[in-house]
């Protein structure tokens, strides 16, 4: 009888303790109960950032396109002794389009008094950026190798680039480039500004 009473008292004390702990943990005044039994996420060690190459550029970014896409490898069949693989990732990134102004030379500008004519090179996709913080692993079934991850991420990036092109990023980029040039030369005092965009020679 005494033992049962003791057991009940202990259980009651534990229940009360839990009831007090839970709201305090929820308000972040105490650590989460689950975290007491799991290992902390690993932290990277201090390593330097090595500059490998420095390059002067002249790129005018005129348009960005933000997108989110899902890439699914589908079921990848493996040998009889291994479980099949599947990787689903969510990628969030940005496509930058604009002009490579290093291709502008004296022939690209034509002056007559307060009038100027500028010929820009054709706009193009300058970068497709999906950084590690932009990837989310939704499903990783089986033994997914690092290279398989990389391949999936590259394919997701390509999907974002294709979407940007479908949305007309290059056309918008060209129009915005012309607007920037007009504004810039207006500020320099020109009254008549003509901006031409060269066509890509293929």
């Amino acid at each position: 009888m005494k033992k049962t009473r003791l057991l009940l008292t202990i259980l009651l004390a534990l229940a009360i303790g839990l009831l007090i702990y839970t709201p305090l943990a929820r308000f972040h005044l105490l650590p989460d109960l689950g975290s007491l039994f799991t290992s902390k996420p690993p932290r990277i060690e201090e390593t330097p950032v090595i500059i490998e190459h420095i390059k002067s550029i002249a790129q005018l970014f005129t348009q960005s396109y933000y997108d989110e896409c899902i890439f699914d490898t589908g079921t990848i069949l493996t040998s009889f002794f291994q479980s099949d693989k599947r990787l689903i990732i969510i990628a969030r990134g940005v496509v930058i389009a604009g002009f490579d102004l290093s291709r502008i030379d004296a022939n690209s500008l034509s002056l007559r008094g307060k009038s100027i004519s500028v010929t820009l090179p054709p706009p193009r996709i300058l970068d497709v950026i999906v950084n590690p913080s932009g990837y989310e692993t939704f499903l990783a079934q089986g033994d997914i190798t690092f290279q398989e991850r990389i391949d999936a991420q590259e394919k997701a990036k390509k999907m974002i680039e294709v979407n940007a092109l479908k949305k007309g990023i290059l056309q918008n980029s060209g129009e915005q480039g012309a607007r920037i040039m007009e504004k810039f030369f207006q500020l320099l005092g020109f009254e008549q500004i003509q901006v031409r965009i060269a066509k890509e020679l293929f």
Binding site: P42, K55, I57
Partner: protein, 226 residues
């Protein structure tokens, strides 16, 4: 004796009288916190957006970083080494340029440019290589999610070291040279380019540097306009 017995007899009754309401109160507090303080925040809705930019990038850095992590436990270790690379681009935002920033005096011109800032940080997956990944018998290998987290930490570390790399200083030099050469072609003989003194450039690197981060609904107004 009777007095003692009556005191002992009263104790559990008094305890229960306070304990039961106290337990009910605690259950109520728990219920309220669970209802009104959910642990997971709802996800923001992101949409595809096109946004106008007017940024001139004048310097590009190719950098390399080794991501190294050790997870040491009494029941076994895990170690991983990943080689990563990133491309950084810095320059100025021409969209910030206004009439007040330009002073023309005959064939001399003075332009007040905005401070250069980091425009892009791009860690390409194809430039990443897992060099070493080993775990003890009782440990599991680093999961995909853990690798994602390590790479994010590496990305943050590169971003935090922008000031040490001198990229903004070089961006300022290159921007000056580039604009001087263009403007001289338009007939000005004396070109004076200065940078506005605003907040420290390092502070401004953070928001623009990582474009892949969903910065709210980027450029939603531009998308609507179209």
């Amino acid at each position: 004796m009777e007095e003692i017995r009556s005191r002992q007899g009263k104790k559990p009754g008094a305890l229960m009288r306070y304990l039961i309401p106290a337990v009910f109160l605690l259950i109520l507090i728990n219920a309220v916190t669970v209802k009104f303080y959910p642990t997971r925040q709802p996800r923001r809705i992101e949409i595809q957006t096109l946004k106008d930019l007017a940024e001139l990038a004048t310097i590009e850095y190719d950098v390399k970083k080794i991501i190294k992590a050790k997870d040491v436990r009494w029941y076994g270790d895990r170690k991983i080494l990943i080689e990563t690379a990133a491309v950084l681009k810095a320059g100025i935002d021409l969209g910030e340029l206004s009439k007040q920033d330009i002073l023309i005096n005959g064939d001399a011109i003075t332009i007040n440019l905005p401070q250069p800032r980091l425009l892009q940080l791009d860690m390409k997956p194809r430039d990443m290589r897992e060099i070493f990944n080993d775990s003890g018998t009782l440990r599991q290998d680093f999961s995909n999610e853990e690798k994602d987290q390590l790479l994010i930490q590496g990305q943050e570390d590169i971003k935090n070291r922008i000031a040490e790399m001198g990229i903004l200083k070089r961006a300022a030099q290159n921007t000056k040279l580039l604009l001087e050469s263009w403007i001289k072609q338009t007939g000005f003989r004396e070109v004076n380019i200065v940078f506005k003194i605003t907040q420290p450039a390092g502070d401004r690197d953070q928001p623009a540097g990582d474009r892949s981060q969903p910065a709210g609904v980027r450029g939603s107004q531009d998308a609507q306009r179209r």
